[in-house]
């Protein structure tokens, strides 16, 4: 390949992202879907993500697994194209289709090159996937069988067994505590997926995030095109408020060399202003990687675990605060004791002044690293859009962190992490 003068020009024209957080534009598409857009021409790439209030918490009673299975089959057959044709088209365009399901959300993401001959057919295909999924019977049955097999396999693994027991202990009969089982998935039929799609993949439950090499006018057209034929329905009913569990400990047998240990409780909703003091405090407790107290006490000083951490997972309703680690099974009780003492001390005293300072320094200083690619921007903006956080959330993030005081941290932990609700699950161990 010869050097091209045009390429030199191209490199010169590459636009530098502003130091501040990028400007998020937002509007409502004619369909009712909410749209979030960041214009960025630095690379000839467009990322589009449609998020629907269609996570596992929105499954009908007795239909555990329907959210996941609906999403899995969604892009495996659209009006006029079977799964092989879809896969061929995506591959020919050099596009990437991805997505997933969590408790609150189901996501469908497309990454495509920005040139019109790639972009247009890729967006057409995304529109078809969102608006005309066929859920072919044979494909549905095959994906159901694969899903059942994967769940059976996962249920032999200590990490899955621990995670499931932990969520059940935290949420009991609340939707966040529900798990797909081989039996529940095995009982699903195609009409369950169709029903789930029509009820949940509606324009009213959709947020569309667009990042990249488009103008605002183009983005508006894209949003209209992608959402105009979505099913129509009422907005999502809110997920019920979980009841906090009584403290307790559960031990499950497993032959693994290591015990898997989880401690936690339902703790934090998206949009709660306590997010900031909890983030600063948790950095010191177990969120700050190699410099956290859990890492120092459990790993560095005692060699009890390779990985140990704590984090908050804010959701539409109270999502968990969770401490997790794995240790050689004979060390289970020692690791638990160290962890509980450390947590109790932290809750009683909070971090030291210098720890608060170090946490802020890292959380603010590392802020540019959270936004230095389109992929990371997409994740952040999609989260802001889906959970209805303020559009200046990213702009204000450093300031909100800076304002946190030691008293804020102690008060926030006292409100959100109460030991009388802390559940413990140990899988394996002695």
């Amino acid at each position: 390949m010869k050097p091209s003068p045009l390429l030199a020009l191209f490199l010169l024209l590459v636009v530098q992202l502003a130091q501040a957080a990028p400007r998020i534009e937002s509007w409502q598409a004619p369909s009712g879907a909410r749209v979030f857009f960041v214009e960025n021409h630095a690379l000839p790439i467009i990322d589009v993500q449609a998020d629907f209030a269609a996570g596992t918490a929105h499954e009908a009673a007795g239909k555990a697994g329907s959210a996941q299975l609906t999403r899995a089959v969604l892009d495996l057959g659209v009006a006029g194209m079977d799964e092989t044709q879809i896969a061929n088209r995506i591959a020919d365009l050099g596009a990437k289709l991805s997505g997933g399901v969590d408790m609150d959300r189901a996501s469908v993401s497309l990454r495509t090159l920005a040139m019109p001959d790639k972009r247009e057919p890729a967006l057409d295909l995304l529109r078809a996937i969102l608006s005309t999924p066929q859920f072919p019977g044979e494909v549905f049955e095959r994906e159901k069988a694969r899903s059942v097999a994967a769940i059976k396999e996962a249920l032999t693994r200590p990490d899955t067994i621990a995670s499931r027991a932990f969520w059940t202990a935290m949420y009991a009969t609340h939707p966040y505590g529900s798990h797909a089982t081989p039996e529940s998935v095995g009982a699903l039929v195609r009409s369950d997926a169709l029903a789930f799609y029509h009820a949940n993949y509606t324009a009213q439950r959709c947020t569309l995030t667009i990042i990249g090499d488009l103008t605002r006018a183009q983005a508006e057209q894209v949003a209209e095109r992608l959402t105009s034929d979505l099913p129509v329905g009422p907005p999502a009913a809110s997920i019920p408020v979980p009841q906090l569990p009584a403290a307790g400990e559960q031990r499950l047998a497993h032959p693994a060399a290591q015990a898997h240990i989880l401690l936690g409780l339902p703790a934090l909703k998206r949009g709660d202003p306590d997010f900031f003091p909890l983030a600063v405090g948790n950095y010191t407790l177990g969120g700050g990687g190699f410099v956290s107290r859990l890492m120092k006490e459990v790993r560095d000083k005692r060699g009890l675990a390779y990985s140990v951490s704590s984090y908050f997972q804010p959701l539409a309703q109270l999502g968990p605060f969770q401490i997790g680690m794995q240790t050689k099974k004979t060390q289970t009780d020692q690791a638990l004791m160290v962890t509980r003492e450390l947590l109790a001390t932290f809750l009683a005293q909070g971090p030291s002044a210098s720890e608060v300072q170090a946490a802020k320094q890292n959380l603010i200083g590392s802020f540019p690293l959270r936004l230095d690619s389109n992929r990371k921007l997409l994740d952040n903006v999609a989260m802001i859009g889906f959970y209805g956080l303020p559009l200046d959330y990213l702009d204000n993030y450093p300031e909100r962190i800076e304002q946190v005081t030691l008293d804020d941290i102690k008060a926030a932990f006292a409100r959100h992490v109460r030991l009388e609700h802390l559940v413990t699950v140990v899988v394996g161990g002695e």
């Binding site: 390949m1 591959a91 032999t156 307790g248 190699f290 320094q361």
Partner: protein
């Protein structure tokens, strides 16, 4: 107002891999090479230090020492105490970690760009002045054993891969797991780590890769300042340890608690040794893409969807490694299908190509993925740094990146068919099967949720 370059893109697309001076390269008198790729999209930078020493440079009895040393690199020097390295990176608003492979060991920090000098100072310090204290070693070796339990001993698929490589190779050190055998870890000493460190952690065995919002001449000057003071030293001789020719099918099984069986097939194949002249490694890489590079590839279409023989089926091949090459085919049989049936299905896919070749549009599809991937890669500074570092680890200059892409683009359907005919014989094959065992007792509550407090 963002500046549009839309009209330029179609022309630029195929040239996306840099043909200008960027990345820039400079070598210090002590042998340390510095490679800088300027990427001004965001005010951040990634700094990586690569050492051309990985588990393939280890000896029996001290397997895993490359990776143990990687852990010990965070345990302090006379001027930067134990744990202080991580603390300083965190204070800089940075993220750091390290990784050990068969071929190399690498350390990285992602930081706001103004913190780059401090990161270079820290890395230069631990390149020569590591303390390697006995008490720190005694704690850290326990952490590494926990890592082995977590990632290998309790992971059926990892155990299977470990055994597969240990059987595929009998002389070449690729037979040894990167994390080391547990008994070697149990008997490792700080002195073993010291020998490793003194042998390989020298500027003439290392190179820096910096990608980000930086000016290359400034980075070169910083490298002179911090790394330039370190003395070069001769490296230990690297023996080739060539694997003797395999002369027949090898087969093994691993029993582990699991639900689903796994079949893994490993064929010995060549890798890139001469970027310009080689043909077969590129054809092998396109073969992997045609078999399993995307959802429309042959394995997904035929084995998973049409025949319902597999729940998962994949192929993988890495053409740029220091040691010998392996082409893997692997999968999980679907409900009611046996391991033998899946193995036969995987073999049939090879036989089909051997007899009938691949369609031109299949190859074009794989190439479309390749070109798009070159653009998408530019979205991540870390990926760009990683790609440069990995090529250099093998001894392939990063300036050959575009040449490699061109060679892949030039692969023909006939060449893909030819490599299947040439290399995929039972004499070169090792097959490993995971034989799933039921859990001793179905997971049951040893205690129900018992109240505490």
């Amino acid at each position: 107002m963002p500046i549009s370059h839309a009209r330029l893109i179609p022309l630029c697309l195929v040239l996306a891999a840099p043909v200008l001076a960027n990345p820039y390269e400079h070598q210090l008198p002590n042998g340390l090479r510095v490679i800088v790729k300027e990427d001004r999209r965001a005010p951040t930078a990634v700094h990586m230090v690569w050492y051309r020493a990985g588990s393939m440079d280890e000896h029996n009895g001290t397997t895993g020492v490359a990776h143990v040393l990687e852990h010990m690199m965070f345990k302090g020097t006379p001027s930067v105490g134990a744990g202080e390295f991580n603390r300083r990176v965190a204070a800089a608003g940075g993220r750091d970690n390290a990784f050990t492979s068969r071929d190399y060991t690498a350390y990285f920090q992602q930081v706001p760009k103004q913190k780059l000098p401090e990161m270079m100072q820290l890395e230069a310090d631990r390149m020569r002045h590591l303390t390697l204290a006995d008490d720190e070693f005694a704690q850290e070796i326990k952490v590494v054993m926990e890592e082995r339990r977590l990632r290998t001993d309790d992971q059926p698929q990892s155990l299977l891969s470990e055994q597969l490589l240990a059987t595929t190779f009998q002389a070449h050190p690729y037979r040894v797991p990167i994390i080391g055998w547990m008994n070697d870890l149990e008997n490792m000493t700080a002195a073993d780590a010291r020998v490793w460190y003194d042998s390989w952690y020298v500027p003439n065995n290392a190179y820096l890769v910096v990608v980000g919002d930086v000016e290359h001449r400034a980075v070169f000057a910083l490298a002179e300042k911090y790394y330039g003071v370190l003395a070069a030293r001769p490296l230990p001789a690297r023996k080739p340890q060539q694997e003797p020719v395999q002369a027949g099918l090898r087969r093994l099984a691993v029993k582990a608690p699991a639900e689903l069986p796994i079949v893994m097939m490993a064929y010995k194949v060549p890798v890139v040794r001469n970027v310009a002249d080689d043909v077969d490694p590129y054809a092998l890489q396109m073969l992997a893409a045609v078999l399993a590079g995307h959802e429309a590839a042959r394995f997904s279409t035929n084995l998973v969807r049409k025949q319902r023989l597999a729940d998962e089926a994949a192929a993988s091949y890495s053409p740029t490694v220091r040691g010998p090459g392996v082409f893997y085919l692997y999968g999980t049989p679907s409900e009611g299908k046996t391991r033998a049936e899946l193995e036969a299905g995987l073999r049939a896919e090879l036989a089909e190509i051997r007899q009938n070749g691949v369609a031109v549009e299949e190859l074009e599809r794989a190439k479309a993925q390749l070109i798009a991937g070159q653009i998408y890669k530019l979205d991540s500074m870390f990926s760009q740094a990683l790609e440069i570092g990995q090529l250099e680890a093998v001894g392939i200059p990063h300036t050959q990146q575009q040449r490699i892409i061109d060679k892949l683009q030039a692969v023909t359907a006939e060449q893909v068919q030819a490599v299947v005919t040439k290399y995929f014989h039972d004499e070169q094959l090792t097959v490993a099967e995971l034989d799933p065992q039921p859990l001793p007792s179905a997971p049951r509550a040893r205690s129900s949720l018992a109240p505490r407090h």
